[in-house]
């Protein structure tokens, strides 16, 4: 069914409205990220990742990795590892978006992240034309982009006033905990986290952030070992 002129604002309002609660949930991460940007030695470069990376956890991880002395290749690898889940999101939308024009897939991909994926996946399961789905997604994504940049920039402007000396800097690790918690599904996931955390503690003295790679390798290795035993 073709979209009517009446449907267009309805889809736009619905997409933007559905994104607002998710924006509220992301606000603490955005503020913490902004504070991390303000405290980074190349603040403008760090801020540029707000749109370039468009992923709070990966962006924060890259900044923290650089702050710990990692070289650019290691920081990039860290960020891309966290962003790797986006391949799965993208692949899951490939079928629903196969009738969408290429320009939309190109733009839609640029802002594909957990909240926009959730919105697209939810809308794809409901009736409507390809144009309806497109307007809904674009409205939700635009809302997120504007709000995300505003929140991160606010955090960056408040900068050091957010948290120095009162423990608010711990909000960063707590945000990462909130991101890791839903990934703890199977028993093997707990083992992966425990091994990675233990190894990161032991390897903290290693040079230039290599403890991250060592911890990651140990965690993935432990998970593979459990898989091998359960077969």
């Amino acid at each position: 069914m073709a979209a009517t002129a009446f449907d267009q604002p309805r889809e736009l309002h619905a997409g933007a409205g559905a994104m607002l609660p998710m924006v509220a949930g992301l606000a603490p991460l955005g503020l913490v990220l902004g504070a991390a940007i303000a405290n980074h030695r190349e603040a403008l470069a760090a801020w540029s990742g707000t749109l370039a990376i468009f992923g709070g956890s990966a962006h924060l991880a890259v900044i923290q990795s650089l702050d710990r002395g990692s070289a650019a290749p290691l920081a990039i690898a860290t960020g891309l590892l966290i962003q790797a889940r986006l391949v799965v999101y993208s692949a899951s939308l490939a079928d629903a978006w196969r009738h969408q024009p290429r320009w939309f897939r190109a733009i839609g991909a640029a802002v594909l992240v957990d909240p926009t994926w959730a919105l697209a996946d939810q809308r794809a399961a409901q009736p409507g034309s390809a144009a309806d789905h497109r307007r809904y997604y674009l409205a939700g994504a635009a809302t997120l982009v504007v709000a995300w940049v505003a929140i991160v920039t606010t955090g960056a402007l408040l900068g050091a006033r957010l948290g120095s000396g009162v423990g608010l800097e711990l909000a960063g690790p707590f945000c990462l905990i909130a991101m890791a918690a839903p990934r703890l599904i199977e028993k093997s996931d707990w083992v992966v986290a425990a091994v990675a955390g233990t190894v990161a503690t032991i390897a903290a003295g290693l040079p230039a952030g290599t403890s991250l790679l060592v911890a990651m390798g140990a965690g993935v290795g432990a998970g593979a070992l459990i898989d091998g035993r359960s077969r």
Binding site: I53, V62, A110
Partner: protein
């Protein structure tokens, strides 16, 4: 310059990760072992970053500061698992940390 390189690198890499499956839509899925390895690598990196953040805090607050931060991290994890909310998880962690710090000050 290092930060610019990192931001551009992660930005370009992220776009490739996001767009590649959409460029040529197919129904194929990733092999399960690879899918699991990617998922676990991200979990391991997040955990290592949490530990690193807590240790970094410990260098400012001493070993007691690290212990208090670790206890607050456990509270944050419990709330994150139960509520599934980032706001609740961060709030629980911070309130626990502030409460324990106040208690430690009283006991000193």
């Amino acid at each position: 310059m290092t930060t610019w390189i990192a931001m551009v690198g992660v930005g370009l890499g992220s776009y490739l990760l996001r767009f590649t499956p959409l460029a040529q839509p197919r129904r194929e899925q990733w092999p399960p072992p690879l899918d699991r390895a990617i998922r676990r690598a991200a979990l391991a990196v997040l955990t290592a970053l949490v530990v690193s953040g807590l240790q970094h805090h410990g260098t400012d607050g001493g070993s007691v500061g690290t212990l208090l931060a670790a206890a607050a991290a456990v509270a944050s994890l419990v709330v994150a698992r139960r509520r599934g909310s980032m706001v609740a998880a961060v709030s629980a962690g911070l309130v626990t940390y502030w409460s324990l710090t106040a208690l430690a000050d009283v006991l000193r």
